[in-house]
């Protein structure tokens, strides 16, 4: 994942990352297909490939990274 694309997604419209956030904070396990669908739909919604590697273990890690980055920005840069 490119840092500048993540920053762009957060700055432009975090609501487009909502499904990624929901997946990251869900106690119900998601299937590989569900994770893949969220990644591809998010890319479509954003209009660029935030998730450019659709390999499942990588997506799981990147969803967590996105969530942490959104949380840091939301709390530290928005009062």
């Amino acid at each position: 994942m490119k840092e500048e694309l993540l920053e762009r997604a957060i700055k432009e419209d975090v609501s487009k990352l909502k499904d990624v956030l929901r997946a990251s904070y869900s106690l119900k396990a998601l299937s590989k297909l569900e994770v893949l669908e969220i990644a591809t739909k998010t890319n479509e919604s954003l209009g660029y490939k935030l998730f450019n590697d659709l390999y499942y273990p990588r997506l799981v890690s990147e969803f967590s990274l996105v969530s942490r980055a959104v949380a840091k920005d939301a709390i530290e840069n928005n009062n």
Binding site: M1, E3, L6, E7, I10, K11, D13, V14, S15, L17, K18, L21, R22, A23, S24, Y25, S26, L27, K28, A29, L30, S31, K32, L33, Y56, V60, S61, F63, S64, L65, V66, S67, R68, A69, V70, A71, K72, D73, A74, I75, E76, N77, N78, N79
Partner: protein, 234 residues
């Protein structure tokens, strides 16, 4: 905004490691030295203070316990509780910009005011949800005799206290997401129960003799089993 990804990566790697080091520094070192129990107790309090409200290791233990709890209502309750986290983060994100755009709108003042109030109510409701979640997770931990994941000095977050609300939000900026943990636990459970084993997995484990028996059976029946290719078939 810059280096958000880098910061997130570093925190993911370091949080638990740092907390383990803090525990060694404040508690284990005193135990090993044979310190007075009061000193060990004080050391534990110093440790909790240094955690600054979020105990990542305790959080992991609590999540493990919830996922293994026989009472499904517990899982349902906390699944709903965790939904407030992404809600709050989306509301909070870009807050200043949202309010500014509303105020710059051409609508009459009373409409703008109602829109801002509505935004504010949604954010407050989500924030209340996060605070309820933190309190509930702490209560659950105490019931199960586990360390609490949110060891704040005042014990219980008060939704009416602005400082408590700020603390809860601050904790979120450092909080561990669930996805990796939950998926790992579920994958391990499937492996243990054998439920996650596909036919392909079974075939891989067979001896040549067993494979030939299966091949003979399938050939005679000409009714090949549908291959479940694990992740690819989902």
């Amino acid at each position: 905004m810059k280096r958000l990804l880098r910061q997130a990566k570093n925190e993911m790697r370091q949080t638990k490691q740092e907390q383990e080091l803090l525990y060694e520094k404040h508690v284990i070192s005193k135990l090993v030295e044979g310190a007075d129990p009061n000193e060990v107790g004080e050391g534990y309090q110093d440790y909790l203070e240094d955690l600054d409200g979020f105990h990542a290791l305790a959080f992991d233990q609590v999540i493990d316990s919830i996922l293994e709890d026989d009472d499904e209502r517990i899982l349902d309750h906390f699944t709903t509780g965790f939904e407030s986290v992404p809600e709050y983060l989306v509301h909070r994100s870009g807050w200043g910009e949202k309010v500014k755009n509303l105020m710059q709108d051409d609508s009459p003042t009373h409409i703008k005011s109602a829109s801002v109030d509505s935004l504010d109510r949604s954010r407050t409701k989500a924030h209340d949800g996060v605070i309820n979640l933190f309190n509930d997770l702490n209560s659950y931990a105490e019931d199960k005799n586990l360390p609490v994941p949110y060891p704040v000095k005042y014990g219980k977050f008060d939704k009416k206290d602005l400082n408590h609300r700020t603390d809860a939000a601050d904790i979120l900026s450092r909080h561990t997401p669930l996805l990796e943990k939950v998926n790992k636990v579920v994958q391990e459970k499937f492996k243990e129960s054998g439920k996650g084993e596909t036919i392909a997995d079974k075939y891989r484990k067979m001896s040549l003799g067993d494979l030939l028996d299966v091949a003979k059976e399938n050939f005679e029946q000409k009714d090949l089993p549908e291959l479940d290719l694990g992740g690819l078939s989902q």
